[in-house]
Structures are given as C-alpha cells and as structure tokens.
Subunit: 354 residues, 2 copies
C-alpha cells in the first residue's frame, strides 16, 4: 500500500511524542511492505512564531493533499494568560478541523489492565470500562459568531447546530454502537438549551433506524457524575463539541492516564489522528512525556484511515507488551509498585519499537 | 429572631425531603427561642399541573416577601423526552433565580469521614478534600437568546456575560477564599470562547485587589480532569453558569453522594437554599430519598441568610452524629460495611431531629 502521511508535531511535547508515532509507522511500513511517504508541517504557536499564522496556507494545502495526518498537540501559556490576544494557536486546530470537515472526533477510553492502579478510581469501579466517545467537532459554541464590545463590558459566543450536523455524527455513532455493546448514550442539556432540544429531537428520530441499539438520553451534569460513579455502564457516548471536550478529558483521567489515549477525527476527507493530551509545556524538552498516546494514534490511523487492522494490532500489542514488561513513563508510574521501571520518552518509544 | 421562611418543595423527591428540612428548622426555632413563620408555594411540574405556569405569580410574590427560601427539586421526565415542549418545569427555577437576583450559587463539597467509602475514588485521593464552588447563576448560555428555526433545521443559544456580572461574583469568591485556604481557581475556556476571555480578563483584574489569595486559571476540560485526579488541590473554584453546573455535579459524586450536598444561592435579596440532587422521580414516594441534603440546606439557610452560626452548627453536628451512629439511607450505604444501618427518608429525618 502506498500512502502520504503528514506529520504536524505542533507545540510543546507534541514535537517529542510525534516523532515516536512516526517511527512506529515507518517500522510498520517496513515490516508489512507498505510505502509511506512522510511530510511535515507547522501549526499552532510554532507556526505563529514562524509565519504569524497558526495554520499557514502551506500546512492546509499539504493536509488536504495527504491521505492521513498525525498530529501532536497545540497551545502555549503565553496566549492563555492574555485574554486580548487576537492570534492564538488553537485557531489553527479549529480551522483545520473545519477546513477538512472533521466533524466526528472518536475517543476510545480503554483500560490497560496494567494501569488500573494509575487511576484515582477504585479498581472495582473501573474494571471493565470500555467507552467510545463520538464528540461533534465542527459545530457548537466553538464556531458560532463571537463578539466582544469595544469597551470590554460585554462578550458573547453563539452556540448553534444545524440538523444535518447532528444527523451525520449520530449515524456514525449508531453504526459504531452496532459493532460494540449496542448501547448509545446521547448527552445534552435539553432542559435548558434550545440547541440541545434540537440535538435530542434528531437523535430520537435517528434512533428509530437502529432499533437494535438501546438509546439513552442524559443531561451533561448527570453524565459528568455517572462517569465517575459507574463508568462501566457506558458503551458509545454521543455528544456535542463543548460537552464532548469536557467529558472526554474527564473520562481519560478516569481511565488512568491522559498520556495513554488517542483520538481520531474523521469526516468528509483526510483523517486526523492525535493524542488526547495537550502541549504540556511544563515538561516539554525534558524527555519526560509519554509517547504512547502518539503511538496509539498511529495505530488508529492505520486502522481507520488505511483499513490496516492487522498492522494496527501489531502496534497496540507492542504497547501492551511494553506495559506488561513493567515499563512506565513517569505519568503512569505507581509509586507503590516496585516492579515499575521508569523510562523517558525516547526509551519508552524505543521499547515499543522493539 | 423573627423570620419568614418560604418552603418550595417542587417536584419528585423534593416533596418528601423538604419536609425534613422544615422540621429541623422548627426544632431549631423551638430550641433557640426564634420565631420562624412558614409558608409554602408551588414551582416546577407540580405548578404547571396546578396553574399551567412553572413559576406562578403567587409563588414569586411570596418568594420576594420572605426572608429565606428552602427549595426541594425540579423536573419531570415527561418534558425531558419531549424536545418540543414549550412550558417546562426548569423554567420556574431559572426564572426565580433571575427574578430574585440570585447570581451566586455556593456549593460546598464536604467530605464526611464516615462516607469516604461511598465514593468511587480511592480514599487516599479523596481525603482532605474541601472545595467551595462559586457558580455564576443568572448569566451565560442559560439566559441568552434562544432560537429555533420553524422547520427545525437549526437552533441556537446565545452564551454571554456582562463585565459587572463577572465582577460581583468574583468579589464574593475572593472574599470567601480569604477566610479559607486563600486559593482561588477560576475555570473557563478562554482558548476558545470570547465570553471566557472576558471572564479571565475580569478575574485577572480583580485578583489584584486580593493579593493574599493565590489565583489560578484553568480550562474547563482540564478542571473536569483535575477534579478526579487530585480534588484536594482545589480550595475556592469560581466559574460560569454552565461550567459550574457540570463541575459541581461531578464534584458531588467525587465526594461520595449527591444525596448529602446542599447549596446556597445568594445575590441581591432573599437567599435560596436547596439540595444539589434532582427530583429523582424513580424513587419518589417510596421513602427512599436521602433527607440529609435538605437538612444541610436548612443549616446553610440559618448560617448565611440569618447569621445564626451556632444554630447551623447544631444541625450539621446532628447530621454527623446520625452518620457516626451508622445510620444510612440506601444511596450512601456501603454493601461491605456490616455496621451500616439502612433507614428510610422519614426514619433518617427523625434520627437527625433527635
Ligand atoms: C485546544 C482546544 C481548542 C481543544 C478543544 O477544546 O477542542 C482541545 O481541548 C481538544 O479537546 O482537542
Ligand atoms: C434543573 C436545571 C435547570 C439546573 C441547572 O442546570 O442549573 C440544575 O441542574 C442545577 O444545577 O440546579
């Protein structure tokens, strides 16, 4: 198989983890006789520094021309503490999502048995958890009109959804539910928001086409609670952009570590694969970041964008083996487990590569 | 002391738990020689059934005339599953918040040592957690303009804040932080939302007036995660209406039980006190609901609206004693603890009253 893969390392630890995702893809190409061509491009803070633009035209053009994209992370504290900054790294990520039509963000929340201890939750609550989130990614208050009064006395963001935007992701989520536990929980705030009432209306409608899937509707405040109380009860969770942002991060923490989880953004064209974790500038450049989420993002890329299930499994198995052998980066190490062997980013990457 | 207290039981289990909050207030009045006059009024589904209006004028007039309000819960599944319903129970709650100017919702997340086991979190993660949430309550996407296209192809809600709305609650939160751990965490999504950037701008400004309080800004997705990872690190958390709705419910679950936590809504006039839990129609009328959150809401009422700290302490001590004696309602019972003695709503209420 011949494919073009664009690597966008982005900001902070994005740089050092993505290099391992890429090396794993190279190893797979060699092992299975595929031809993967790699290119690289800038996005985020690094792109602003280099070009003034968080998503340079060149990056967008390369992205559109590639078969799949492996992305690192975005963001920089400099902008976070400057509420008046007009140009921000995150705009690059939001724009590429919109331009590539990446309307569905899939986040599998997987438990690694070896890491049960790394979670704040009791093992008996956690064990058996296996959730697949479908977070809508190109609508909601993220993309609605923004306004700030000149004298800074008022600001607003429009939260909005079109029916078709809910329909297309609902179909994807129901299709996935069919191949899994046959349960779908749609999360909204329909007791307060008109947008959520439209959302619920559409999901109720589409649910009829999937009578074999059991549908539940839950308010976001309750969902944030139930995830802590009984994460096992969820199978596929379908939700809007903002609620999905919050719930998936909460769920990833529940599962033990941010540093382990990958996500896939799919839609009309090129797929986009990235770790759930952020740019973590506080540990950037210190060889401390966990490269496993980037490596698992590469596995998702092989699976979803190229349909290479066997290759993807080789990668996830390699990650499993490294964990079974006791190898840990600092974020997933357990101080109480004497057998944990702490590695840096590069050593962990090399361990998986073996 | 002579005071008028309005009881609004509301929907579902609101009815059966509020009666215990009221009885505790009566007992306190007798013990300490206060004169509490009680009145009662309808709100929510019960008010719609009786009058067609979730907040009848009579209820609002009584509310404005009273010195404090003890409220139960609101909501009914009937409306939740009908996205096109125009009249909804929650409108009553939202309207009374707006009409009484209840802009600050205080939710103390307290751990009861006896209930450590009832949480999904490991005791060592949980122990020592003591958070006070300040959730803004009369702005945000809750009250901005709502719109639904006639053909149901589009819906929107305006998320918005005025500077003064952020200022007044920020002052309250900083003042509280001064009397506690001197730490304040303001939660927003300033990397995406204009509203959040205004929020952060105002909080940064006001922080300068409280140099003795350490300020941190956190994105909502990260906050939802950190609450699970390390709840102890939070002291006062200040956030907007929607984010506060989500985080406080998540935090209450972390603390062990929804059924234990009370909240106070304060602002320009009469204070409003209610359990965090909802109407829970599935267990309504079965003498199963936990009355402790309503009883603790009564304690908050005594403390905050009437300045009766000693009386409030008598109530919280009585709750503590009932727990220490092993009394539990079903929601906070631990199947593994043989010494737990399960009571119904009324028996638990009576136990505290003793
Ligand atoms: C960086 C930020 C804009 C982004 C989001 O909120 O979507 C991130 O939190 C994510 O979840 O991918
Ligand atoms: C019932 C609902 C409108 C309400 C809210 O979202 O504010 C509730 O969840 C709460 O937190 O008091």
């Amino acid at each position: 198989m011949k494919k073009n893969i664009l690597i966008i390392p982005g900001d902070g630890i994005g740089q050092e983890v993505t290099t391992w995702g890429k090396q794993v893809l190279e190893a797979i190409a060699e092992k299975f006789g595929h031809e993967f061509e790699f290119d690289e491009a800038l996005m985020g803070h690094v792109a602003i520094e280099a070009t003034g633009n968080p998503l340079p035209d060149e990056t967008l053009a390369k992205a559109k021309a590639s078969d799949a994209i492996l992305f690192g992370a975005i963001g920089h504290a400099k902008y976070d503490n400057d509420p008046s900054a007009k140009v921000r790294p995150e705009q690059g990520l939001l724009k590429i999502r919109k331009e590539l039509g990446l309307y569905a963000n899939l986040r599998p929340i997987l438990l690694f048995d070896e890491l049960l201890d790394a979670s704040s939750l009791k093992p008996e609550i956690l064990k058996g958890t296996d959730i697949l989130f479908f977070r809508e990614l190109t609508g909601d208050v993220y993309f609605g009109e923004k306004y700030r009064k000149e004298d800074n006395s008022f600001a607003s963001d429009l939260m909005n959804y079109n029916r078709y935007e809910v329909e297309r992701i609902a179909h994807k989520a129901y299709e996935a539910a069919r191949t899994r536990g046959k349960k779908l929980c749609s999360v909204d705030k329909a007791n307060v928001l008109e947008t959520s009432r439209l959302w619920r209306d559409v999901v109720q409608e589409i649910a009829k086409q999937y009578p074999d899937v059991e549908t539940e509707h839950m308010f976001i405040d309750n969902a944030a609670m139930q995830l802590v109380k009984n994460p096992k009860k969820f199978d596929v969770v379908l939700t809007a952009n903002l609620f999905g942002d919050i719930l998936t991060d909460e769920a990833s923490q529940i599962a033990g570590s941010m540093g382990m989880l990958a996500s896939a953004s799919i839609g009309d064209g090129t797929g986009f694969f990235e770790p759930i974790h952020g740019s973590a500038h506080d540990i950037a450049g210190q060889n401390k970041a966990n490269p496993l989420a980037s490596i698992l993002s590469a596995a998702l890329l092989l699976d979803i964008s190229f349909g290479l299930q066997e290759e993807a499994k080789v990668v996830t198995d390699a990650v499993d083996q490294a964990l079974k052998a006791g190898w840990r980066t600092i974020d997933i190490a357990n101080a109480n487990t004497a057998s944990d062997k702490i590695l840096g980013t590069n050593e962990m990457g090399a361990e998986v590569l073996k």
